[in-house]
Subunit: 482 residues, 2 copies
């Protein structure tokens, strides 16, 4: 036998059981053509010795590989690669395209760079947003819901591919357990499941872009939303914000949509007053625009009841309500939704279908069960309890150490918005803080005018014990500027 016996080695870091690791190893070798059909595999005994495992484990692995059609057993000769599994005629050469220059040049997309450094976890004090404490994720509950979702009787429903594939179970749960708590009561054709709130905003942008009228957004505001609207082909204009929220009288004429975050204004976290909400709804009729209400962190209220959603006060079908389950479940899961007049949902459904068809059905089903079994409610209360404590610690630390800065009046949410005096430069502050292991969100990222006076501190991911120390370091650097 000419070919050299490949040396079999188990992977160093695997969460699979030994038998499955062996299966993996052998099937990789088959794919990579390290094993050929003419050559006998090591016997169970030989392989067991090579790998330092029991013969039974190897025997079990080989049997499994035979079940999978990758190996065959020839009487008295041993185990061989199944020739049928080996029929691929792989090209030996590697098309070495690594050094080829780009065949095309792209102009900049004109988007706001919004991402935090990939290694944000390595910072000691990551006062940044949108990262939840992973320990809070109810793993066991999620696992149970997944198990139930995969039960055989339920399978056919979720293997279908249809542009209409919003899970009826999920829709019912959303209507019953989430939308009702926001005072929103709707029919099934007035809601669309999306791949998170970001996806909903992009779909809205793509649905309305052909009407060629600008979208007004809060300034400072939600940069991710701004990027979505712009990339989808819309012009974006800013509307200033004060301590009651979006300033309605400053909404320009001729906008088709106004994007707002009334529960907790992103990024200042102020809650839009009831008076301001009424004004906004009246202006929508008077100036003929629609409102996109992104209900960011509606649930993160630590002192009061939730504010009334704009949608619940809307008598004219002018509010498009956008929600996300990323905060309360896990951002990696990617599930969101939008509620609007059925004509708008119809358009959005077509757009979504062309973009991506629909959200993965299995994810929808698991989330539906998560609601059904009461896990959403209890998890929500758990989060609120934990963040309420953190909010207090942050609030105290900020009052103690950062009193020289102006603080937007907030009553909840998972961050604080701080503004320095005229000439203050938070971008510079951010750079100096990085060197000290502190990450903050600099204000110019949220501002169409590139205003550098403000910055944001999230606290979802900084350990409780470290909050005050981090704030103290920030105050040291702030004092260097003031």
């Amino acid at each position: 036998m000419d070919s050299i016996t490949p040396i079999f080695v188990l992977p160093e870091d695997s969460s699979l059981g030994l038998r499955d690791q062996i299966c993996e190893m052998v099937s990789s070798a088959i794919t990579n053509q390290a094993l050929s059909p003419e050559k006998r595999l090591p016997s169970c005994r030989e392989m067991a010795e090579q790998l330092g495992v029991s013969r039974n484990t190897v025997f079990s692995a080989y049997n499994r590989l035979m079940d999978l059609g990758l190996l065959i057993a020839k009487n008295r000769s041993g185990y061989f690669v199944n020739p049928i599994a080996h029929e691929q005629d792989l090209h030996g050469h590697r098309a070495d395209l690594s050094d080829i220059p780009a065949p095309v040049k792209f102009k900049p997309l004109g988007l706001v760079p919004v991402d935090n450094p990939l290694n944000w976890k390595s910072y000691t004090y990551p006062f940044i947003y949108n990262q939840i404490d992973p320990d809070l994720f109810p793993v066991d509950s999620w696992r149970e819901c997944t198990r139930l979702a995969l039960r055989r009787t339920k399978m056919p429903a979720w293997r279908d591919d249809s542009v209409e594939s919003d899970s009826p179970q999920l829709l019912q749960q959303l209507r019953q357990r989430l939308l009702s708590t926001r005072g929103i009561y709707i029919d099934k054709d007035e809601v669309l499941i999306t791949l998170g709130a970001q996806n909903a905003l992009y779909i809205i942008g793509a649905s309305f872009a052909h009407r060629k009228k600008p979208i007004a957004i809060e300034d400072p505001g939600f940069s991710y939303g701004r990027n979505a609207f712009q990339l989808a082909g819309n012009k974006v204009v800013g509307v200033p914000v004060d301590n009651q929220g979006l300033i309605v009288s400053r909404i320009p004429d001729n906008c088709q949509l106004v994007f707002t975050t009334p529960s907790h204004q992103f990024p200042t976290m102020v809650t839009m007053t009831n008076q301001r909400r009424k004004k906004l709804l009246e202006a929508a009729v008077a100036k003929d625009f629609l409102i996109i209400e992104d209900d960011y962190e509606a649930e993160m209220n630590f002192f009061n009841n939730r504010s009334q959603s704009l949608r619940s006060l809307d008598k004219n079908g002018r509010v498009i309500y956008v929600g996300s389950l990323s905060k309360t479940l896990s951002p990696g899961i990617r599930l969101g939704f939008m509620v609007a007049h059925r004509d708008i949902i119809r358009q959005a459904r077509i757009v979504r279908g062309v973009m991506m068809r629909h959200a993965p059905t299995i994810v929808q089903e698991v989330v539906a069960l998560f609601f059904q079994l009461g896990y959403y409610d209890s998890h929500l209360r758990n989060i609120e309890r934990r963040y309420k404590r953190r909010w207090h610690v942050m609030n105290d630390a900020i009052n103690k150490h950062l009193g020289m800065l102006e603080q937007a009046p907030t009553r909840g949410g998972t961050c604080f918005w701080l503004t320095g005096p005229k000439g203050f430069n938070s971008t510079e502050l951010g750079e100096r803080l990085r060197e000290r292991g502190v990450l903050i969100d600099i204000g110019e990222r949220f501002s169409l005018k590139k205003d550098q006076r403000s910055f944001r501190l999230g606290f979802a991911f900084v350990p409780l014990k470290k909050l005050e120390e981090g704030i103290r370091i920030i105050s040291e650097e702030v004092k260097r500027q003031i």
Copy 2:
């Protein structure tokens, strides 16, 4: 006690166990405010009698609901709704917006209507495309992979939210087990995970739209792709197809991208010859365009080895390769990918991030394990075996009953493309066939010129025994026209 005791009824059709059904029922009642904190819940015995279940089951359900914080037990008094769970101040009124006229009018999006009727399953002979036989889906394997993916040691990785979140495990598996079989060898920054091939095409369209040069597509061609490019803001032009595939000499000047399906041309199913592939790659350099290679059904070859992918022959980084796992796994799972020069991937990653961030991490992890454990390979062979048989039955039936029509020469794939003589109207044929329980895909859907002479017959979902009878019915209706 004034409030009427709600009558508790278990849902008629539930796949949950009895205890969980009771939990569901009670927590719904709490959310809907059918239960108030002042009123005692039925005792275990009372509830058991009402529902016709055992006391132990109710006791178990009540305990669970207490664990979830939804119920409390007061000594000697019984079970009550936890007041904290009841704090929502729901608005009683239903904002009745059902009858409100739309606040906005949308112009038509100019897309090709591509969907099959929602009730396609109720047709006896659904000779349509893109629906796989659900019985083939390897449920147990999928369940096992899900279980492994949710093991605690793996959790932190998939709960992160990062625009960079392509699962490293999935990328490795794709490179090792799928791309290598197409002769494609790449680095990690040359590939992007998407929510299916449709999503990849839309992302490409959105990445290139600002360059304002048309995209050429095969005609007849992939209407879903055409919709994606157009919705993303590109002009689309058609290039005719013959028995060797896309006619390279007919590619207009000034296109920036040429979309092609060389493995099995969509919808004619012809395989692009090697000669034609070389011509296409040469033209890409000469006329300065990029090629989008959608490797549709590369695996559905029943007679020959797979054709060489364009990407594997590409020496200039001009081929963008798009693949999907929807055919081989399940369309409901929604996972696809694109391979291209790293500058193009970088742009596409930004675009994807703004549109939807990334595909759900849990889905990526489960699919990675599905590859790792060899299930993808064995499932693929299973599908090929089953479809090969069907292909033969269809081929024979078509030769027998539909010989009066022109048949595109194919050697694989999951459908047949048939063309009538001049004046033949497949749209009319399709309408008459519907009344007889037969669904076909009419040709004008795939044709920029709205050509009505051709139609397509898929056979992925028609039971084997019914294939010939369905073809015979089609021939009866065809003869009425010819």
